[in-house]
């Protein structure tokens, strides 16, 4: 039996000890009406070499980013992940461990999370960060709930330029909580501070924006923060952590809660998951935070150690009065982010951010010079930008894929008014040669 160690002899002996005559007796508490009387209808078991081959075949039916140059972004980013990340993640003391509820034998996980929290704080300019949440979208939803609890208000204003899937998740989380959601329309790819100010009132718990926003544009965050605070709403900013190698930390422009998707830090795109959501905030909000927190303390001999802390917020203690129902974090993804950031270091992260910036601007200028292509927006951007194409986007992407290039996202998928606009992304992984071929392909040449 695969993965089971008991031999037939063991089973006989153990059943005897328990006073049963067969395996069937183990289940005598199950009433006949609840018994399954036929074998499970599943494919036959595969021996490991067969399974190995099968998995390769299934994987082989997909076009993967090692073989195709990817210009898709929109919340999942093809950043470089060094082999050091994966090799350390494969230390099975890390990946086969449970939640660190027994701190004396979990200092590895606990210290790594403490370091992760410290890294997120310094990146975002905030005072505390939790041990991570499921993804950027659920982190944004949790931040909205947190703001409603803190302010005792029941309205949030979210900009239309926030990732459409994130807004969808926020709607699902808030739906039955008696919280009104107002969407702030965008003009020219940006949230207009005046329009926003018109939607924020004394009932507003939070304003949710994204920087850079879903269109890649850099929002006028100072003005947006001011508009939020004018009526006492919390300013919640969803950020791309890679951009923070260059862009101002949200803590410096008035953010009260900062969330984001951490995938771009050392985690593969992996068809959408597992990822990690980070959530950081001001110290005064710490007891409203969802999810785990690791804190530093001392052992009986005065040695530094780490424990899960401020747990009186959590479901296993507070049950229905908990700040959230979350029970886990994305510890291994957070570990990947930690290793990645340490490996990149102070200069490395800035360098990655600069490469994204330079390459996306080069791509922008190459594409903007093409006939039938024009930039969708004029706002400054970081690594993503949109282009309006005269030609049908599906057709363009069909031509690109023949040249082993995965083209951008049709914004019409989420915004009817931007149908025919393509959202493109350049990370440090894209080369000039790939960008030139992208431009040639979009320009109508076969590549």
């Amino acid at each position: 039996m695969r993965y089971v160690l008991n031999t037939v002899e063991d089973q006989k002996l153990m059943l005897g000890r328990v006073g049963l005559s067969g395996m069937e007796d183990l289940f005598r508490d199950i009433p006949p009406g609840a018994r399954l009387h036929t074998p499970l209808d599943l494919p036959r078991p595969l021996a490991e070499p067969e399974l190995h081959r099968h998995l390769r075949e299934v994987a082989g039916k997909n076009l993967n980013l090692d073989e195709y140059a990817c210009f898709l972004g929109a919340g999942a980013y093809d950043h470089y992940v060094s082999p050091i990340v994966d090799q350390l993640l494969l230390r099975s003391e890390f990946y086969t461990a449970y939640t660190p509820y027994q701190p004396e034998i979990s200092q590895g996980t606990l210290q790594a999370i403490f370091e992760y929290q410290s890294l997120i704080c310094t990146l975002t300019g905030m005072e505390v960060a939790n041990a991570s949440l499921y993804d950027g979208a659920s982190a944004l939803a949790e931040a909205a709930l947190m703001a409603c609890e803190e302010t005792k208000r029941s309205k949030v204003v979210v900009s239309e330029s926030v990732h459409p899937e994130y807004r969808a998740v926020v709607r699902t989380y808030l739906r039955h909580r008696g919280i009104e959601i107002a969407e702030c329309p965008c003009t020219c790819g940006l949230t207009d501070p005046e329009t926003l100010a018109g939607l924020v009132d004394s009932r507003t718990a939070a304003v949710l924006i994204q920087q850079p926003n879903f269109f890649g544009c850099l929002e006028p965050v100072l003005d947006l923060g001011e508009a939020s605070h004018r009526h006492g709403a919390l300013f919640v900013v969803c950020v791309d952590p890679v951009s923070l190698g260059l862009l101002e930390a949200p803590g410096e422009y008035g953010a009260d809660i900062v969330v984001g998707e951490g995938q771009g830090l050392g985690n593969q795109v992996s068809f959408g998951g597992p990822y990690l959501g980070f959530l950081a905030c001001r110290q005064k909000l710490v007891r409203r935070m969802p999810g785990r927190l690791v804190g530093q303390t001392l052992d009986k001999s005065g040695r530094r150690g780490f424990v899960l802390t401020i747990q009186a917020r959590e479901q296993h203690i507070r049950r229905e009065k908990a700040t959230s129902n979350i029970c886990s974090n994305e510890a291994l993804c957070a570990l990947a982010a930690t290793i990645h950031l340490c490996w990149l270091g102070k200069d490395g992260l800035r360098r990655v951010a600069e490469l994204c910036l330079q390459k996306s601007h080069y791509a922008h200028s190459q594409l903007a010079s093409l006939k039938g292509v024009k930039p969708s927006f004029k706002a400054p951007f970081f690594k993503e930008f949109a282009m309006q194409l005269e030609e049908d986007i599906e057709e363009v992407n069909g031509r690109l894929i023949k040249g082993r290039i995965i083209g951008g996202l049709d914004l019409g998928r989420f915004y009817r008014s931007y149908s025919g606009h393509m959202l493109l992304c350049c990370t440090e992984m894209r080369t000039r040669e790939e960008i030139d071929r992208l431009a040639a392909g979009i320009g109508g040449m076969s590549i």
């Binding site: 008991n6 050091i84 001999s301 009186a312 270091g345």
Partner: protein, 489 residues
């Protein structure tokens, strides 16, 4: 033998990451980004060499205890062995290197895998449809309750806002109900640790939306009256939700679908061998009966009628919406898929048989020494209380747990379920050998003796770990939640 923080290592100017030279014409930063938007002060990231990074995290790993380190009988968590081929599978470029927005025709293998495993999970649980979007068990509960609420609302039964949970339930159950804006009603368990059917019946009314149960329950006992429970719940117009945390006990033997459950979440990181990762990522797929399918989160993986190709269906007008970006923890799903394909139906049945056998065998070895609050045939786990004389000696479950660490075992779950005084909840799983179970039982029996002879030995335990018991009160009262550069207040 502790490890300094990575921030305390390295030296200014040191680094490990040579990024390539920029191969496109370089423009001045200020021409691209308004200077007000640029960072004034770089983040305080470590300045360490690759050798230091490798050393640091390797040493940190050595301060940890995982399933590969030793026996990990953590009740309710199913800490089974994590097969290595699953780790191979998820790292194949055809899975790891896929962008979620690649057009369907580029990712037929991935969509097909999702479609297939949805079918396998439906077969294993006796449900009709599955979504893979929830990222964890608690996330699955949230999804399931939202579906139930949407169902009642769709029938105009907008007054159904009450969720009934037994007092033995996981803390996530009531917390989830609250997150969904519903009211929690807790009912006491019967004297045998099962649901008290009469108490349940009197709690059920026209405002009840759902009853959430774990079966086998958190005491490791099968709810013998499950059929009657389901009938009572349905008669009241409510739905029955299954917390599938304990599915490892009954695969191929009994299915929640036949028991009468309408919705279930599974924990792929428990039953289906995906690693716990030190606290995640897991995955919490949700299965429903046919009549609830319209409410599943979008998108749903489906097959086209004509060419049978797989696609993502977003056109789901009654859907509760999305609970997570993209399609869930795909990488976790790939591992679970590999596990199911490795074992097949008969293999999964043998998993459950051996999980239950191991639990009963282990229980038989310690039942003379430890108190067993509900002493009957258990399923895949059981609950103990400390031996006689421990209370008088001032010893608690926590002391037993910490002493087990000295014997190189991970302690069982402690102080859960809440209805058992000083609970020790033991789940050996099917992947442990008889010798391991016997060794662990020996240690428990020895500790029972040690506690009476030398209580301090237990109170001071563990003795051989890198740190001794940590001051959790200090941590919560004066929170230090991050490292700061020297000199910063």
């Amino acid at each position: 033998m502790t490890e300094t923080l990575i921030f305390e290592q390295g030296a200014p100017g040191r680094g490990s990451c040579p990024m390539p030279e920029c191969d496109v014409p370089v423009q001045p930063l200020e021409e691209m980004i308004p200077s007000g938007m640029l960072r004034k002060r770089p983040p305080d990231l470590p300045e360490v060499g690759e050798r230091e990074v490798a050393g640091h995290f390797t040493r940190l790993s050595q301060l940890n205890f995982g399933v590969d380190t030793g026996f990990y009988p953590l009740g309710s968590c199913t800490m089974k062995y994590n097969p290595k081929i699953n780790e191979y599978a998820v790292r194949l470029p055809g899975f790891a290197r896929l962008h979620p927005y690649q057009p369907a025709e580029q990712v037929q293998g991935a969509l097909g895998l999702m479609y297939e495993i949805q079918g396998y999970l439906a077969e294993i649980t006796g449900m009709d449809h599955f979504t893979l979007q929830p990222a964890a068990g608690a996330h699955g509960e949230f999804t399931g309750l939202q579906i139930i609420r949407a169902y009642h609302d769709s029938r105009g039964e907008v007054g159904r806002r009450k969720v009934i949970v037994p007092d033995s339930s996981h803390g996530t159950n009531p917390a989830t109900a609250a997150l969904c804006g519903m009211e929690v009603r807790q009912i006491s368990s019967g004297p045998d640790g099962s649901v008290d059917l009469e108490a349940l019946k009197s709690a059920l009314d026209s405002e009840t939306a759902a009853v959430m149960l774990t079966n086998p329950n958190t005491l490791g006992l099968f709810e013998r009256q499950i059929i009657e429970i389901a009938e009572a719940v349905h008669r009241a117009g409510a739905l029955l939700y299954c917390d599938g945390a304990n599915m490892n006990a009954v695969m191929g033997i009994s299915r929640p679908g036949e028991m009468g459950f309408d919705v279930i979440h599974l924990n792929l990181h428990k039953t289906f061998s995906t690693p716990h990762g030190g606290g995640g990522p897991g995955a919490g797929p949700v299965g429903v009966k046919h009549f609830l399918a319209p409410f599943l989160p979008y998108p749903v993986v489906d097959r086209k009628a004509g060419n049978r190709s797989f696609f993502l269906d977003y056109d789901r007008p009654l859907s509760i919406g999305q609970v997570r970006s993209f399609y869930g923890n795909f990488g976790v799903v790939v591992r679970a898929y590999a596990y199911i394909r490795a074992l097949g139906g008969q293999g999964l049945r043998e998993v459950s048989e051996n999980a239950v056998l191991n639990a009963n065998y282990l229980l038989s070895l310690v039942r003379e020494t430890y108190r067993v609050p509900f002493d009957r045939l258990c399923m895949h786990e059981f609950v103990l209380s400390p031996p006689a004389g421990f209370k008088e000696a001032g010893l608690h479950t926590l002391d037993i747990a910490k002493r087990l660490v000295d014997y190189a075992y991970h302690p069982p779950t402690v102080y859960f379920p809440l209805i058992v005084e000083e609970a020790l909840m033991v789940e050996p799983t099917e992947t442990e050998s008889r010798a391991t179970l016997e060794g662990f039982a020996d240690a428990l029996v020895k500790i029972a003796r040690e506690g009476l002879e030398d209580p301090e030995l237990l109170k001071e335990a563990p003795h051989g770990t890198p740190v001794s018991r940590l001051d959790e009160v200090l941590a919560a009262r004066r929170p230090v939640l991050r490292w700061q550069p020297p000199g910063v207040k």
